[in-house]
């Protein structure tokens, strides 16, 4: 038979096989149920039955790239025996997502079931306004490191961490030992340090606020005096560090180190001894979610080891729960190891911040100080 | 029947400007009527109201008995329903079409078949002397030719009335003069009713059956070329049409020869034989007009009215006549003298004003 002898026949066969397979998968017991027993098995089975009726699901995040989302979707459908559920997904900046969902809530036209966002103040405000569904997943109890750092909101979410922390381009800086934030004020690194622009980004303002709990204002005055660069976008900072414009970042997310490493640039995160700010990433269910069964199952999956591992294949994330080694040794070495890109939070010194109490006034206050410190670029030389 | 009847037409621009101020006139079937006046007199606006390009504020327009526009009845036919032909000052030739396409446009718009249109286009082009140029790009023609295209386009579909909006003013003088006659001949040949707008009084005189003279949105005078020239009703008309002398005086007595007017500035009495169709009281201030060609340098010997003494101030030779300014007292009179006998400035002359050509104006 010729290789592409009869493409029509081939397509028809493939289609038949696909229909057959999916039908079979739909009918058979979901793999997850095999590992469960008792009440939990009954609970999940009931949710799966409900999810089949719902038939679709929508989630949005500022974290996962489309590829990661597709992989999670595929694995989830397989594991929960829900191949027919239609997934909808949006990846946008958190600000964009918040704007859209706020308006949808107001107009009573919420289109999303689950949101995974590193936007603690909004998420807490959503709790206050009764817009989040209370849900405790069996996985929640494992998020002890996140609980220690006060990142969880029990009953609503348990957190993974978005760490904007120090990063170094080792191809340029060599194997210098960096253990403290003060290492960056070393005069020989003058002009080589890049700072996220808190005056234009809430994320960096929270980073500044957090670091100020362990570092004095004078530290930042010195950073500014040493001609540190200021940039807004994470992607711009990554490009700049990769190109060697600056050597050290101070507000770099795991994802950007990862992108650099994949492209062959040895850019590594540093978790200084004074501590690192971790913004809580919550996977939450909307109170008015149209597909609550699906939402609960997906949140279970997101918070599980399996979900975390799947995510790590496509996008690094500092897990809020201790993680066992991944089946892929590269990922263990590359991401999960202590000197990897995104070790779980139990291995990092996180500055505890009571996120429920951080409001917009704090953002304003600390932004004002940042503006004051970094308001003018120092003169050259 | 294609009689144009305009009744009490009013058109305002904005809230203040009255472009057309309550005018009425008719154009009879087959008649060539000209709206004449300086720019801003409302003549073009009137024409555009008839074409349907402006919506009048009040008044009625009907053509051939069909009501086109009526302020009170709320009727206003759009231009395309009026079946008129119009020739614009700027020709309005569509640059994206050939000559034939331009001419066929109206025919097709009015539903003529392709074959029918072709025949009529050829005929129209022949009429205007452009046979065989149908395939040309219209914009590649000369100005005169373009205006002929525009004319052919307007007559091709045999409209009820032809409207002309200063069609010749973009042409050079020679061509303009030739086109005047051609245009009139064509219209007459086609037995069409035509309403023609111009600011050129010579054009109006040459072409029209009747002239309607307008100023500031109002009609000043209506009449055939002869009567508007020879019997202007007011100083505006007298002055606007041709060259004239306007003299101030006061009425004295009326006799069989006309009205005797005392003109102190000329230290003379002038007998006026025209413009007397109204009551003029003794001592009333009047304006008298007389054309330069009706003042003669060969006065009858008899003493009396209409006889003036003056000194030639300036004299310009025009070919068949001399155009002179002659100082009488402290005013200048414009006098046209036939013949080619030299007239020297400074020469003392005696003049005679033909009484039957002295018109008493109504303002």
């Amino acid at each position: 038979m010729k290789k592409y002898g009869s493409s029509w026949l081939g397509m028809a066969l493939a289609f038949a096989a696909l229909v057959g397979l999916s039908g079979a998968a739909w009918a058979a017991e979901a793999p997850i149920l095999k590992s469960l027993s008792g009440a939990e098995k009954a609970r999940v089975a009931k949710l799966i039955a409900g999810a089949k009726k719902e038939g679709s699901f929508s989630w949005a995040t500022n974290l996962a790239p489309v590829k990661a989302a597709k992989a999670l979707e595929k694995d989830f459908k397989k594991y929960y025996g829900l191949p027919g559920v239609k997934f909808r997904f949006a990846m946008r900046k958190s600000g964009t997502l918040i704007k859209r969902f706020e308006q949808e809530i107001k107009a009573n036209k919420l289109s999303v079931d689950v949101v995974v966002l590193a936007a603690a103040s909004w998420l807490h405000s959503m709790i206050k306004r009764g817009n989040l569904m209370k849900y405790t997943s069996p996985e929640d109890k494992f998020f002890v490191p996140a609980a220690k750092a006060k990142m969880n909101a029990p009953g609503y979410w348990v957190a993974d961490g978005q760490l904007n922390t120090m990063a170094v381009n080792r191809d340029l800086a060599g194997n210098v030992k960096l253990t403290s934030w003060f290492d960056l004020t070393n005069p020989k690194y003058a002009g080589k340090v890049l700072v996220g622009d808190s005056s234009r980004s809430e994320t960096y303002t929270l980073w500044y606020m957090g670091l100020r709990r362990v570092l004095p204002k004078s530290y930042f005055v010195k950073l500014n005096a040493q001609n540190s660069g200021i940039m807004i976008r994470g992607s711009a900072q990554r490009r700049s560090l990769m190109a060697g414009e600056y050597w050290f970042g101070t507000t770099i997310m795991a994802r950007h180190n990862w992108i650099a490493k994949k492209a062959g640039v040895n850019m590594s995160p540093i978790y200084p001894k004074e501590g690192t700010v971790a913004l809580p990433i919550g996977a939450v269910i909307m109170a008015k979610a149209k597909h609550p069964n699906m939402a609960k199952l997906f949140v279970d999956y997101w918070r599980s080891v399996r979900g975390h591992h799947k995510m790590l294949e496509y996008n690094p994330l500092n897990s809020g729960r201790p993680l066992p080694p991944h089946k892929n040794p590269d990922i263990n070495k590359f991401i999960l190891a202590d000197d990897g890109i995104a070790p779980p939070l139990d291995r990092i010194n996180i500055i505890p911040i009571d996120w429920g109490k951080v409001g917009h006034d704090d953002v304003k206050k600390w932004r004002a100080e940042f503006n004051d410190v970094f308001s003018s670029a120092p003169r050259k030389n | 029947m294609a009689e144009v009847v305009v009744t009490d037409l009013v058109k305002k621009f904005g809230t203040e400007t009255l472009a057309v101020d309550n005018i009425s006139f008719t154009v009879a079937e087959g008649e060539f009527v000209t709206l004449l006046g300086p720019s801003g007199c409302g003549k073009t606006t009137t024409l555009r109201c008839i074409a349907g390009l402006e919506i009048p504020d009040d008044g009625e327009i009907s053509i051939g008995g069909e009501l086109f526009t009526s302020g009170s009845k709320g009727v206003c036919l759009p231009p395309e329903k009026r079946h008129l032909g119009m020739v614009f000052q700027s020709y309005a030739i569509w640059p994206h079409m050939s000559v034939a396409e331009n001419v066929a446009y109206g025919l097709q718009a009015q539903g003529a078949s392709r074959n029918e249109a072709r025949g009529k286009v050829d005929k129209a082009l022949e009429l205007v002397g452009l046979s065989g140029l149908g395939g040309r790009n219209a914009t590649k023609l000369s100005g005169g030719q373009q205006q002929r295209v525009s004319l052919a386009r307007a007559v091709a579909y045999n409209p009820r009335v032809l409207l002309f909006d200063e069609p010749l003013s973009n042409l050079d003088a020679k061509l303009r003069e030739r086109m005047r006659l051609e245009l009139v001949n064509l219209v007459k040949e086609l037995k069409m009713t035509a309403l023609y707008v111009t600011h050129d009084q010579a054009e109006a005189m040459v072409m029209s059956d009747r002239i309607i003279i307008m100023k500031d949105g109002r009609i000043q005078q209506v009449g055939d070329p002869h009567s508007t020239y020879n019997e202007p009703t007011n100083s505006f008309v007298a002055d606007f049409i041709g060259v004239t002398n306007i003299i101030e005086g006061s009425a004295e007595e009326k006799n069989s020869g006309g009205l005797l007017v005392d003109v102190p500035k000329l230290s003379a009495k002038i007998l006026c034989g025209a413009g007397l169709d109204r009551e003029i009281g003794k001592g009333a201030k009047v304006l008298v007009t007389v054309r330069p060609e009706y003042i003669e340098l060969h006065a009858p010997d008899s003493d009396g009215a209409n006889r003036l003494e003056g000194v030639v101030d300036k004299a310009v030779y025009l070919g068949q006549s001399w155009d002179c300014l002659i100082r009488v007292g402290d005013t200048d009179l414009r006098v046209h003298v036939r013949g080619d006998e030299p007239i020297e400035p400074g020469k003392r002359v005696t003049m005679y004003i033909l009484p039957e050509r002295c018109v008493v104006l109504k303002d």
Binding site: - | G74, E80, M86, A92
Partner: protein
């Protein structure tokens, strides 16, 4: 009279007829319900829905303070903050400097290039035109990335060259500066000016220029004294739009501003719009500065332009001739080539080099040579391809609808009998350029989320694009219509052609270069639009610009560069296609 009373009597007998007679007399109805009025009323309704509603939402929100989940009563607090906070005032000042600089330089270059192409015998015109337009295909944000790679003080390719080749001791170029920002923006707005003016220059009667030449005026003086002033409506439109739009751009200052601590109005708005609780009121108040600028600009334009006549195309027709530049044509060519080098070769070259390096280490490295990025974009990333399909659909269909609407609106503005209505329409249709994209997206979301249309995101996106870019299309088309003698349409009406027929057979064919220029411009802008798209697009309706944003967040520079080049290529093909379709060359000959 008797028939009328008969009718009245009979109508009394039947209720329905009586009602009919009571509504309006038939002639009145006949006058109101013709194609002309229906079209005009239709486009006015569409304008209201598209522009007035979101702008009203926008303006009213500027008088409210937004807190978590709701808004407080009416207040002037936002305006007080905008005009008293030193940081914002400084930002406004910076914005004005950038906008003036951008509008000034891009106008000069853009008009000069348009004149070369439309009216002179500069060599290689046909080949150079698409190249000249290329910068327009990229967003200025990508231009900023490219210029970062070229002229960042420490790693810029040009700086390295200067240091290596000429032994300069300090890097000569610093893109992190006011000059840098203005240069990048001006380079990228030149094609706007070009597109705004090319139409009116193309349609100008050379007799107007020739008469000046006959009077003994030189080529350059003729251009400056006759040609350019006659294109004033188009040039002024273009300059004002560039001024306002460049004031609203945030991609460039976001990337190049912070290091030099340059704050602009757009970054102020950006911050207010990206946080929670969203400061829509503050953003709208700050943005109203932009809208004010737009309104003032339009007012000035109307004051300068309106009193004079700019009819350059009359029914007289003309024999198009080009100005013979003599040896100066090589100077023109040199200027055009210099522009292409600055705005196309250098930035696209930098992006290309980046696209064939796995990692961008501040310069092209043979060791980094890789086709990973191209393979990724072209063959292993469905997301990008789906996004291209969405964008092309939005560009072609949405652009077409906008052009149709703009044509009708420009008829209302320039040919309408009601002058007040005309100027109101002109202002309203111009306001959207004063609304920053981020805020416009929000106003749109607030407006449309309450309607069933919210379930059709692709359609919604199209409406949003139409609103946002309406002024561009309208300006381009009105500029051309302004140069078209009204008697060309009037004679068609008198010939018996209807309103619609006249538009179809006379107006549109004569406006064709302008319409296609507008269509092309809208097509490109639709495809590049980001802030509104990011807010309104869902997964299925993701357009290319959003995909590009997502990619820039998740992939290294090489992938972004490859995608940007693909986008530029698609738009280049689109442009050539448009030129063919529009027969623009044929019409301009």
């Amino acid at each position: 009279m008797s028939t009328e009373s008969d009718e009245t009597q009979s109508s009394l007998k039947t209720g329905a007829a009586a009602a009919q007679a009571a509504v309006a007399p038939a002639p009145f109805l006949g006058r109101m319900f013709n194609a002309e009025n229906l079209t005009k009323v239709g486009s006015l309704i569409l304008l209201t829905v598209l522009a007035i509603v979101p702008i009203t939402v926008y303006l009213q929100s500027s008088f409210r303070v937004h807190v978590e989940g709701s808004q407080l009563g009416l207040t002037l607090a936002n305006y007080v903050q905008t005009f008293t906070e030193p940081k914002i005032l400084r930002a406004i000042w910076n914005t004005l400097v950038i906008a003036v600089g951008t509008a000034f330089f891009s106008s000069i270059v853009g008009v000069a290039l348009a004149w070369f192409h439309a009216r002179t015998d500069m060599p290689w015109r046909g080949a150079l035109e698409p190249l000249t337009l290329i910068p327009f295909f990229l967003s200025s944000f990508l231009g900023a990335i490219a210029w970062w790679a070229l002229a960042a003080p420490r790693i810029g390719i040009l700086n390295r060259w200067m240091i290596d080749l000429f032994g300069v001791s300090t890097p000569p170029f610093n893109i992190y500066s006011m000059t840098g920002i203005i240069m990048v923006m001006a380079l990228f707005y030149v094609p706007y000016m070009y597109l705004f003016t090319i139409g009116s220059l193309n349609r100008m009667d050379p007799a107007l220029e020739e008469s000046a030449r006959v009077c003994g005026t030189g080529v350059l003086r003729t251009a400056l004294r006759v040609t350019i002033p006659l294109s004033t409506p188009a040039i002024l439109s273009g300059a004002i739009i560039i001024f306002v739009v460049s004031a609203g751009v945030f991609g460039v200052p976001t990337l190049l501003g912070p290091i030099a601590r340059i704050d602009t109005l757009s970054t102020v708005i950006y911050v207010k719009m990206e946080e929670y609780p969203l400061d829509l009121g503050g953003a709208a108040a700050a943005g109203s500065v932009l809208m004010l600028i737009a309104v003032i600009g339009l007012y000035v334009q109307r004051k300068i332009v309106a009193p004079r006549s700019y009819v350059t195309v009359t029914g007289k027709g003309f024999r198009p001739n080009r100005v013979m530049l003599g040896n100066w044509k090589y100077a023109a060519l040199a200027l055009n080539l210099a522009y292409i080098i600055m705005a196309v070769v250098l930035p696209l070259g930098a992006l290309f080099l980046a696209s064939i390096n796995r990692a961008w280490l501040g310069g092209f490295r043979w060791s980094q040579l890789s086709f990973y990025n191209w393979d990724f974009i072209l063959f292993s990333y469905d997301y990008a391809m789906d996004a291209m399909k969405n964008s092309l659909m939005l560009g072609f269909v949405g652009g077409f609808m906008t052009v149709v609407l703009c044509t009708f609106l420009s008829m209302v503005i320039l040919r309408g009998r009601n002058k007040k209505l005309s100027s109101v329409v002109d202002y309203v249709a111009t306001l959207p350029i004063g609304v920053p994209g981020l805020v416009m997206g929000m106003a749109f979301l607030i407006t449309w989320i309450k309607t069933p249309l919210y379930s059709f995101p692709l359609f919604l996106l199209m409406l949003a694009y139409m609103t946002r870019y309406l002024p561009y299309g309208l300006r381009t088309i009105t500029a051309i219509l302004q140069s078209l003698g009204a008697e060309l349409e009037e004679s068609s009406r008198v010939c018996g052609e209807s309103f619609i027929g006249t538009i179809r057979k006379v107006t549109v064919p004569l406006l064709r270069p302008g319409i296609f220029a507008a269509y092309l411009m809208l097509f490109i802008m639709f495809i590049r639009e980001l802030p509104v798209s990011a807010l309104l697009a869902t997964e299925d309706s993701t357009p290319m610009a959003v995909a590009l944003y997502v990619i820039s967040e998740n992939e290294a520079l090489g992938v972004v560069s490859a995608f940007a080049l693909v986008q530029a290529f698609i738009l280049l093909v689109g442009t050539i296609l448009f030129r063919r379709l529009g027969n623009i060359e044929k019409l301009s000959v």
